[in-house]
Symmetry: C2
Subunit: 199 residues, 2 copies
């Protein structure tokens, strides 16, 4: 015994989303059918339009429906700075939290040989082209402080050195508002050995 074919198909299709298993898919399907068919139609249209229309910016690999994303096509940004991040969400996080007004390069992942993600998948040849831009001074590496993110950061630093660009990495340590007692050992150790002279 199972649901009607259309409902089965909808529940199956919903499980393609990360973090959505069969139970959640069922709950989502019932909710949409029972209370929000307009939302379902709008979602259907947005999905199709996005899947067919959104590509990558040809300079920074950010998701964009145009050849250049809004940051790469903006005027007045600082051409001496380039910041490499793992995901489009990281671009937004840096833009919103910092006063950074340079350019970005979105790796869309991190080096992970076991998953078949090497330098080519991260578009590192494109990044190397960017490093040859006249006026570029510094590559800010903002990959995540994970094992893969660290490996990626080392690789990027090597590419930067080869192109005579200064590489820097964002600081890792105890987060603001955090308490030493509850910070994990790795972070605390990193913060301790990365201490800076108070001036």
């Amino acid at each position: 015994m199972s649901y009607s074919p259309m409902l089965v198909r909808l529940i199956d299709a919903l499980t393609c989303m990360p973090g959505v298993g069969r139970k959640s898919a069922q709950r989502i399907a019932f909710q949409l059918l029972e209370r929000d068919r307009g939302g379902a139609i709008a979602l259907s249209a947005a999905l199709q339009q996005a899947a067919e229309g959104i590509g990558h910016c040809c300079r920074c690999r950010m998701f964009s429906e145009h050849e250049l994303c809004s940051i790469c096509s903006a005027s007045g940004r600082d051409t001496s700075l380039l910041c490499a991040v793992e995901s489009p969400a990281d671009v937004m996080a840096v833009e919103d939290a910092t006063g950074y007004r340079g350019y970005y390069f979105v790796l869309m992942g991190h080096l992970s040989p076991l998953d078949g993600i090497g330098p080519e998948e991260l578009g590192l040849n494109l990044l190397e082209d960017r490093l040859k831009d006249p006026g570029l001074v510094e590559l800010i590496i903002a990959t995540n402080p994970t094992v893969e993110g660290d490996a990626t950061a080392h690789y990027l630093a090597e590419i930067a050195a080869r192109n005579n660009i200064q590489a820097s990495r964002i600081a890792h340590g105890v987060p603001l508002g955090g308490e030493l007692e509850y910070v994990d050992g790795g972070t605390l150790s990193h913060a301790f050995f990365g201490r800076r002279v108070v001036d």
Copy 2:
């Protein structure tokens, strides 16, 4: 600074799903665009087809794209039994776990006057018509053991009595494999006063 218009539209549309906030919507959008555009297209088609094609069974209110759902149109089921449940998922749960082969009535919710859900929204006039079916003997009430489910059960029992149909409610108590020590007080008290003679 925000994402490109199509991406913003997709993230907004994804939040129409229950349990999906902005962060989850963003993660889902990135995952679909980066790794599973085929899945996104399939989901888009399934959503549209379901939102436009799925209605309710005219006898039991189950989701169905036909006038009668597969259970109501099946032959050889027991016409003397009718089981009232709150949601389509409950129909599947009862079908899968029990040997029950009677018919169902799906309330699609429970009485909740504050939310504007009264007897009419639950299709209780349709249920009353079903209770007049020749051959029907028992209405099994399988609403959830919550305050609203209990109120709904009382209301259904009254309708059954008015139509001279025997009403029963599924048993509530300590779940199999549960330990008394960890069962909540309400359940234990219910199980205690609902004790049955061992024969």
